[in-house]
Each structure stands twice: as structure tokens, then as C-alpha cells.
């Protein structure tokens, strides 16, 4: 057992554990940040997507040792109080969900995508987000939401998406 310093949404937590313990398990069941979802535990569905030093990561297969010392951003703190992040607003307006279980991961994947590609084509979106599964099959709506968010972010300047 060792102690790891996890910096999550700007706050540092000291967590005891094994280096190989799942970051998602700590986020969800010990820090109470349940916005990131457990879907497969294999890193293949994307429901647990978070940002690690601004890079998209699957929290379920991210080891505590790999997360320690990095900035971890989760969906739980993406909105600024009552004000939704433009990506969240776009998903809401496009109703880009059914059961919504994949939505936090899709939103985080979109935030990450728009940081590197502010004007993605349908193909860009499909390529980058292919590791996020929406089992309800709302992909066409998610693509619309991503493009809507991209348009808004471009118009308002890129500051917002960088939070």
C-alpha cells in the first residue's frame, strides 16, 4: 500500500491504495464523483472518460500510480455552477442521448476533441470518438451536438472550452 496524491477538479486528495488500483473506482466510490460511469472496466466503452492533464483517458483502466500528480478533470465539475459548458448545452439542445449513461463520457470526449480540432468534420468525429459507445445508438445526434458545440465555441472564442 502507498499513498497517492490525486488532484481532481482542482482539489487534492490523499488516497491509500495499490499502484494498480482503478482511478475510476476511487473517483466514484470513495470521492463521491459519480458523474463518470462504469461501463465495461476494459477501457472499451468510454463511459468513464476523464481528462488527465487535458488528455482524454479511460478512468477505469487508469492506474492510481499513473493518475497521481496529474490534473484530473471529471464531468462533475465541467459546468460552472448553473451555467453549463457549451458542450453540455449542445448535447442538451440536440437531445443527444436516450438513457444518458454514455453522455458524461461523450461530453468529456467532445471537450477533448474540440481542444485539438475546433472544426471537426463528421469523419473526424467518428474517428476520434469511436472508442465511446452509445448503446442506444444516438450517434447521429451526438455528431450533431459535437458540431453545434464546435460552432458555438468558435463563435465565442476558444476560451470557454479550455475552462
Amino acid at each position: 500500500m502507498a499513498t497517492f496524491a490525486l488532484r481532481v477538479n482542482g482539489r487534492t486528495h490523499q488516497v491509500d491504495g495499490e499502484p494498480g488500483d482503478s482511478l475510476l473506482s476511487v473517483l466514484r466510490y470513495e470521492l463521491g464523483l459519480t458523474g463518470s460511469k462504469f461501463g465495461c472496466g476494459e477501457g472499451y466503452c468510454g463511459a468513464c472518460s476523464v481528462l488527465l492533464d487535458n488528455q482524454i483517458a479511460r478512468a477505469c483502466v487508469t492506474r492510481l500510480a499513473a493518475a497521481a500528480g496529474k490534473n484530473i478533470d471529471t464531468i462533475d465539475a465541467l459546468a460552472s455552477g448553473d451555467r453549463l459548458h457549451p458542450v453540455q448545452q449542445a448535447f442538451l439542445e440536440a437531445e443527444a442521448f436516450q438513457c444518458g449513461y454514455c453522455t458524461p463520457g461523450m461530453v468529456m470526449a467532445t471537450v477533448s476533441l474540440l481542444r485539438t480540432n475546433p472544426n471537426p468534420t463528421d469523419n473526424d468525429i467518428a474517428k476520434v470518438m469511436d472508442r465511446n459507445v452509445c448503446r442506444c445508438g444516438t450517434y447521429p445526434r451526438i455528431v450533431r451536438a459535437v458540431k453545434l458545440a464546435a460552432e458555438r465555441v468558435r463563435r465565442s472564442g476558444s476560451a470557454e472550452v479550455a475552462r
Partner: protein, 702 residues
């Protein structure tokens, strides 16, 4: 409404519990809800009054709903239906708001809490819109009329001079809010199932597309699915499993796990599990246990599955059905100019709901409360009550809006497991199945073997149709085509894997084979596939969707050279579907470039929600059409992980164009399932332009 055949795989034991609408219940319900107006609409009441039918029959069909209007004028609907992504929390609220003439945001729903809502047999069969929405509407309409009566009595005015508007009763210069009308009172009414409800021309909230009522909670991650539920002092559980999908526990060495701080090991017969203070610790404790399992030998495998299904035909449990026989099949067949025969194989496929099976269980004073993602809250309550030998009223099942199900969450084993662990621990326990457990210990859509034979006369009409389905199920097994002689039969078999409900049930398998065969016969006779179907179709609703899909995709000409079109149509659960596919050849086989779906389900309640459901069903259908199949052997699922079992992803989805036909003159049918059924045959028939198509799903060139 036409009667709908419930899939045999969906039937469970009749519920023990019956909600009796008596004075005592009104008192109980109003105690829970507080002052105000309560209206109950129940099909049981109507049936009892109409015909005095037997209780057993009434129980299985019971559809009840309650509406409560409180002193603030807030309206609450109570229903046993569950929200699993099909958007009924919104669409059912639309029905209530419409009848009561209140803004949608004044309406909320209490759903699927067995202590708070009337009995419901479950959320399946696309029945929420055709049956529950009218029942809630009926109760809401009853509430509206009672509020008018109340105002008329108070103001000593003729009720005909009063009307409701925006949450108020108004007329003759008077106006009062619903809240004021019920203040300090406990009013109650009961309505039979045949009480009239507004039809499509009178709708104003239904027929529109408001956003999902609690959509914000989904984009922020704030919504609490069952895996997100926390209870004071809650611990984490894990169940020990055999390596494969079956086994009997022989030996268990738990010394290392017991030595871990705070870990409890539970063994009860073939059940073994651990409880630990954190999810990580539960994982570690389970991994520290060495268990040996006895696994049966010579289990069937994917390789001999279809032979096994045919060899083990059984009518055990009365699941089989007598054949549907129309006309003289042998006589017609003997006069055939040509016959076309084929045999198709349908593999098992998995639901893969993104929210795994999960439950949180808590015991208090001999009563257990379980939060769990299920489509059958009352069925799960019965299962828990039986497992723990409790009266049902000592079990409460609460279903948070759930991360999808697709027919895969009808059973209560995970709720029972969590309750067993919680009982041993004396504290609340959360149990979340792993993805590996999902694949090995959930259940699958049944595999099936289907033989089909069409006999055709000299004028290119089918005169006899023979169709035998082993194991996949009887949903939509009958042909909608006008064929004078038919023999159609479902043959239940011994399924080597656990199987159950799935979106659309066997309608997908039966449509695949029927439509692929119609296509094959049309090709064999050199008749256009759309014309051939129209020559055999009298049903105007079916003709309408078929023509709409054909027109929209530009039938019979593909949009560019090198591409090919395919088409299929069908009907199930009261709605009509036609799907057209455009495909092109690639070095690896083929690719789907475009899909057109024409769908008609009577009067549309929420057009955007419907569009979403149709697109989603089509995407799910792409999985079964293009790559999903469960492989198994030696008692194990071979491809039981998200990595190995591919479900549709962004790159797999072509442009999907949905044409919705709004039949305002017809009652609304359910729509969540039927759009899945024609995806595979539309693609399969298009691929035939490039060569012979294998007779086993998924679709591929032979």
C-alpha cells in the same frame, strides 16, 4: 387495439400481488401523498364492471395509474413503468399535462417504486405508449372533471359554464387554481378503463417535442443511476463465479480474504460472495479466494448449436404453439410451378446495456429495500420475496431511471444477490456486475434455426408458405402477405445458453428470414422486389411504409454506380416499418452507405422522441446485421468482453434518413422495438447484388 402476442420468453409466473382499489387503499395513498385530489384509473375496475371476468386474467392485463393534484397545484403521475432511455418520463408527462391543461413543468412522475405506485407487469412489449399513456391520460381527465365539479359546487354555477386553463378552473368571471380547489381536502375518484380520453385532434402537448424533462441531469452527470446510489454505511459486494457460464461450487478457500480488514465472506449453497468497505477492497477480496467449480462435460458449442436446437425440440412447459394453418398447404404446393426453399441460422446476441446489472440492498427491521435497474420492478419484488421467504409487502423495489436494458433486465438475480450480501453484512450493500459477468450470467436473445418454403404458381404469385422456427420465438412469425395456403410453426428447443427477451424479440429473426426469402423469390422470378411485395399485400398501412421507403431511397436506382439497393418491410406490435439500404462492395465484403426507414405507429406523441427511438433501433439492428454473434464452447463464452464482442460504434453508422408517417386518425402504438426488425434483411437483400449471401447472420457474402 389489436391484441398483441406476448412473446413466450417474456412470460413469468403471474404476480401474487394484486392492488385492490378499496377505501383502505385510498386512505393509505392519500396519507402518503397528503391532501389534494387523487384519481385512480384501473383496467381491473373496468373489466370487473363490464364483464365480471375472472381475477387471474384481469391481473395479467392490469394497467393502473394514479394522478394526484396537491395544494400547490402540482400534478404527480404514479406508474409502475420504468424509464430506461425510451423517454417515457417525458412522453407520459405530456399525456397528463395535455388532459389537465397544465404546463408540462407542473407535472412529475413517480415511477417504478413498488411501495408508491400501482402494480405493473413490466416495461416491455412497447406497451407504455399504447396502454399506460391512455391510462394516465384517463386519470388526468378524471381529475380535470372532478376539479370542474368541485368549482361548480363551490361557486354554485353550472359546470357547463366552466373550463380549465393553465392550471385553473375558470368561467363566469370566476377563477381558481387547482391548488386552491383542493386545499385542505382529501378528494378521490376512480375511473374504469373505458372512460373516454382525448384523441389526436384534441391534443396540444402530445404531438409536440418538448426536451427530455430531466435532460440537464444527464449532461452534467448528476443523475443517479443505481450504480451511483449511496446509502449511509454502505459496503461493496462481489459474487464469486465459475470461469465459464455454468458450474457448481465444490470447494472454497477463503482464509486470505477473511484476513483482510472489514471483509465478510458469504457462502450459502451454490452462492458465494464477499462484502468489503470499498469497491477496490471487494475486488481484492474476491480475487484472494480460491474456489473450485464442477462444470458439466460435453456442453454444446457454437459449432453444433443449430443441430442441437433441432434435435432438442421440446414442448416442455407448454411453450410451443399449434401451427398456424391457413388453407390447404399440401394441395397448393402440389400445384406449384416453382418452389423456393431455404434454411437460415440466427445466432445468440447480447444486449450489452452500458449500465451493468446492479443493485443496492438495505435491510431495516426485517424489510428489504432494493434499488436496481430492472424492467420488472414488481416481478423482481416477487423474486426477492420468494428467495427470502418474505411476504411481498416486506420487499420494496425502487428503479432509478436506468442506463438502458433493451429487454435484458427482466430478471432479479442481481437484486437477490445484493440482498443476500446485505443481509449477511447487516449493512447496505452495492453490487455491480462486471462486464464479464454481464456476458456470462445475464441472458441472450435466443438463437434460432428457421426453415422456409414458398410455392409459386405460373402467374408468379406465392400460393403456399411454410415456415418453421426452432427456438428463436414466435413474435411476428405470421406472414403479413396475402397467401392462400400457409403453415407456420414455432418449435421450442433446449437452449444451451440462458436466453430471454430482447428488443423486438423474435420479430427480428422472423422478419429477417421472411423478407430475405421474399427477396430471393422475387429475384428468382425476375420481379422487382417492391412490386413483388405489393402484389401480395392488401394491408394499406404496410403498403404505405413500403412505398414511402422505396420512394425516399430512389428505388430501384441506387444513387451511384457500383452501389446496390435492398428493401424489407414488416409489422409488429401494432406499428409498420419499411427499411431500404444502399450498399457498396469493398475488398473486405461490403459497406452500408445509407439507410432509409419509413415508420408508422399511429398518432405520434413526441415526434423528436420517436425519431430518436427509430434511429436508435436501427443502429442496434446494425449490430445484429453486421457483426454481433455470441460464440461459446466448453462452457465458456468465447467473446464475452466489450473488446471482443463488437457493438455498433460511430464509424459503423451510415446516414439514416427517417420518414415518419403520422396517422392522426389511429391510436398510438409502441415504437421502441419494431424499427429494428428490417435492418438486416434490407442490407442482406442489397448485398445479394454482389453475390450469394450466407444463410447465417450476421450478413456476409457466402
Amino acid at each position: 387495439m389489436n391484441s398483441i402476442e406476448i412473446e413466450r420468453y417474456e412470460l413469468t409466473e403471474p404476480p401474487r400481488y394484486r392492488f385492490d382499489v378499496g377505501r383502505r387503499d385510498f386512505v393509505r395513498i392519500l396519507t402518503v401523498m397528503g391532501s389534494g385530489l387523487l384519481v385512480i384509473a384501473s383496467s381491473r375496475i373496468g373489466e370487473a364492471q363490464e364483464s365480471g371476468r375472472g381475477a387471474q386474467q384481469a391481473v395479467s392485463d392490469d394497467v393502473s395509474a394514479w394522478i394526484h393534484v396537491d395544494e400547490q397545484g402540482r400534478v404527480t403521475g404514479y406508474t409502475g413503468k420504468t424509464e430506461i432511455g425510451q423517454n417515457i418520463r417525458t412522453s407520459l408527462a405530456q399525456a397528463i399535462a395535455d388532459e389537465l391543461h397544465v404546463p408540462l413543468d407542473r407535472v412529475s412522475l413517480i415511477m417504478a417504486d413498488t411501495d408508491l405506485v400501482p402494480f405493473d407487469q413490466g416495461t416491455f412489449g412497447s406497451l407504455s405508449t399504447p396502454r399506460m399513456a391512455p391510462q394516465l391520460a384517463r386519470a388526468a381527465a378524471g381529475a380535470r372533471e372532478m376539479l370542474i365539479d368541485r368549482a361548480a359546487a363551490e361557486w354554485k354555477l353550472d359546470r357547463a359554464s366552466l373550463k380549465v386553463n393553465a392550471g385553473r378552473v375558470v368561467g363566469d368571471g370566476r377563477s381558481s387554481s387547482f391548488g386552491d380547489l383542493v386545499k385542505g381536502r382529501k378528494l378521490a375518484g376512480v375511473l374504469p378503463a373505458n372512460a373516454p380520453v382525448a384523441t389526436r385532434p384534441q391534443w396540444s402537448v402530445r404531438g409536440t417535442a418538448p426536451r427530455k424533462v430531466n435532460g440537464r441531469d444527464f449532461v452534467t452527470g448528476a443523475h443517479k443511476y443505481t450504480p451511483d446510489i449511496t446509502r449511509p454505511g454502505m459496503l461493496f459486494g462481489r459474487v464469486l463465479r465459475p470461469d465459464g457460464y455454468t458450474g457448481t461450487l465444490a470447494t472454497l478457500d477463503d482464509a486470505r480474504a477473511r484476513a483482510m480488514p472489514g471483509v465478510i465472506v458469504v457462502r450459502d449453497g451454490n452462492f458465494a460472495g464477499v462484502v468489503a468497505p470499498t469497491e477496490r477492497a471487494a475486488r481484492r477480496a474476491a480475487a484472494a479466494i480460491t474456489a473450485e467449480w464442477q462444470v458439466p462435460l460435453n456442453l454444446p458449442s457454437s459449432a453444433n448449436l443449430f443441430a442441437h436446437l433441432k434435435q432438442t425440440e421440446t414442448n416442455a412447459g407448454g411453450r410451443g404453439s399449434a401451427p398456424v394453418v391457413v388453407g390447404d398447404v399440401a394441395g397448393a404446393a402440389s400445384q406449384a410451378a416453382r418452389t423456393f426453399q431455404a434454411s437460415y441460422r440466427i445466432p445468440y446476441i447480447a444486449h450489452v446495456p452500458l449500465e451493468p446489472r446492479c443493485a443496492v440492498a438495505e435491510w431495516t427491521d426485517g424489510k428489504v429495500t432494493v434499488w436496481t435497474g430492472t424492467q420488472r420492478p414488481f416481478g423482481v419484488r416477487t423474486e426477492i420475496a420468494e428467495a427470502f421467504r418474505l411476504p411481498p409487502e416486506r420487499v420494496r423495489v425502487i428503479v432509478p431511471d436506468t442506463g438502458s436494458a433493451y429487454g435484458g433486465k427482466h430478471s432479479g438475480e442481481y437484486a437477490i444477490e445484493a440482498a443476500r450480501l446485505a443481509k449477511a453484512a447487516g449493512k447496505p450493500v452495492k453490487l455491480i456486475w462486471t462486464r464479464a459477468e454481464e456476458f456470462s450470467f445475464g441472458y441472450f436473445r435466443p438463437a434460432g434455426l428457421i426453415d422456409v418454403k414458398a410455392s409459386v404458381d405460373a402467374s408468379k404469385r406465392i400460393i403456399a408458405w411454410e415456415f418453421d422456427n426452432w427456438n428463436s420465438g414466435p413474435s411476428a412469425i405470421r406472414t403479413p402477405y396475402d397467401i392462400p395456403a400457409q403453415r407456420i410453426q414455432f418449435h421450442p428447443s433446449d437452449s444451451p445458453l440462458r436466453q430471454g427477451s430482447y428488443r423486438g424479440l423474435a420479430a427480428t429473426a422472423n422478419h429477417y428470414v421472411r423478407e430475405m426469402h421474399m427477396d430471393a423469390v422475387a429475384r428468382g422470378l425476375s420481379v422487382d422486389a417492391v412490386d413483388f411485395r405489393l402484389n401480395h399485400l392488401k394491408d394499406e398501412r404496410m403498403r404505405a411504409v413500403l412505398l414511402a421507403a422505396a420512394k425516399h431511397i430512389g428505388w430501384p436506382k441506387p444513387s451511384m454506380d457500383g452501389r446496390a439497393l435492398g428493401i424489407a418491410c414488416g409489422t409488429e406490435k401494432g406499428s409498420y416499418i419499411a427499411t431500404a439500404a444502399e450498399v457498396s462492395r469493398t475488398p473486405n465484403g461490403f459497406v452500408v452507405n445509407r439507410l432509409v426507414v419509413a415508420f408508422e405507429c399511429g398518432a405520434i406523441v413526441n415526434p423528436d422522441g420517436l425519431q430518436n427511438q427509430v434511429e436508435g433501433a436501427v443502429v442496434q439492428g446494425l449490430g445484429g446485421a453486421l457483426f454481433e454473434a455470441v460464440e461459446f464452447g466448453n462452457g465458456r463464452i468465447v467473446n464475452g468482453s466489450m473488446e471482443q464482442y463488437r457493438v455498433p460504434r460511430f464509424k459503423d453508422v451510415p446516414p439514416i434518413e427517417v420518414v415518419l408517417l403520422d396517422r392522426k386518425d389511429l391510436p398510438s402504438a409502441g415504437a421502441g422495438e419494431t424499427p429494428i426488425v428490417c435492418v438486416a434483411p434490407a442490407i442482406g437483400s442489397a448485398v445479394r447484388a454482389f453475390g450469394e449471401v450466407a444463410t447465417e447472420l450476421p450478413v456476409r457474402l457466402a
